[in-house]
């Protein structure tokens, strides 16, 4: 009896997860809620409600979340802002910048500048970015740093 009740629930989860993975893979494309609902074999509104039950956000909110997470990743790699905007599926730079700033707190250009600065620091003085308790464990020590501070 328990198994009979559990099966439809499991089937439901698999369909919602399938739709989530579809967004994860196709976020850069011009995907419509209809096509995502099709992926889960639901009507658009039923799907949006079920998706929110599981992930606490609508499919559209999740799509924006995935696009912005990927935008952060690409900016970290040094890709220019306009190219990132297109690469993650936004059509307009203005809406991309606005949504990015709302999520991250700074606009994409400032984020890119910050990460270029970090990359410079990685290249020139990598040890400054590693907490000493870990650096010492690895043996990544600049000798002088630890001569005066014995651990």
């Amino acid at each position: 009896m328990e198994q009979q009740q559990a099966y439809p629930k499991l089937y439901f989860y698999r369909r919602i997860v399938q739709a989530k993975l579809f967004i994860d893979q196709h976020f850069a494309e011009n995907i419509e809620l209809y096509s995502i609902a099709d992926e889960a074999y639901y009507s658009k509104f039923h799907f949006a409600r079920k998706f929110k039950e599981v992930y606490q956000q609508t499919p559209h909110q999740y799509l924006i979340f995935v696009r912005l997470e990927n935008a952060m990743r690409l900016l970290t790699s040094g890709m220019p802002v306009a190219a990132v905007c297109r690469a993650v599926g936004f059509e307009e730079l203005s809406s991309f910048s606005r949504l990015f700033k709302r999520k991250v707190g700074i606009n994409p250009s400032a984020y890119l500048r910050r990460h270029r600065h970090i990359q410079k620091q990685i290249a020139e003085a990598p040890l400054t970015l590693v907490p000493h308790c870990f650096a010492y464990q690895y043996g990544w020590t600049v000798k002088e740093q630890f001569q005066t501070n014995k651990i």
Partner: protein, 140 residues
């Protein structure tokens, strides 16, 4: 007064493989990746919704603190899953369980109801054990 914990250490057998596991399978993101030498890099990952907390994926290598014998012992212990490393929480454990299983994550125990919530157990690619949990709010 200590206020927060910002970094934790996980011993991994292979950093590249761990990076793939923690990002592409678990869905964490790289916080910082600093090449240090030919064997290792300072590599931390974190969850998208918990800024300020970094998991350091530490390769088990010989170093100032770890002799060759220690490294061999540590690698064996990691493979055996000796270290119960931590708990990842999620908003819906059944969905997360199905997703991670679909991505090839090895589960030791499926989601099971406990008094503190619903919990499953999985291994990372090195052998470390983790709980995946959907916790019930506790009033103290």
């Amino acid at each position: 007064m200590i206020t927060r914990m910002t970094h934790m250490n996980i011993y991994v057998l292979d950093q590249d493989s761990a990076l793939d596991f923690y990002t592409n399978k678990l869905g964490l993101k790289v916080i910082i990746d600093v090449p240090m030498n030919k064997d290792a890099r300072w590599l931390t990952v974190g969850t998208p919704e918990q800024p300020g907390f970094e998991i350091n994926l530490t390769p088990v290598h010989e170093s100032v603190l770890h002799s060759k014998d220690t490294v061999e012992t540590l690698r064996d212990l990691v493979k055996k899953g000796t270290f119960g490393v931590g708990i990842f929480t999620c908003s819906d454990i059944m969905a997360t369980y199905e997703e991670l299983k679909a991505k090839g994550v090895e589960f030791i125990k499926p989601p099971t109801k406990e008094f503190y919530g619903t919990e499953a157990l999985f291994k990372d690619d090195s052998g470390n054990w983790f709980s995946l949990a959907q916790l019930v709010p506790v009033t103290v």
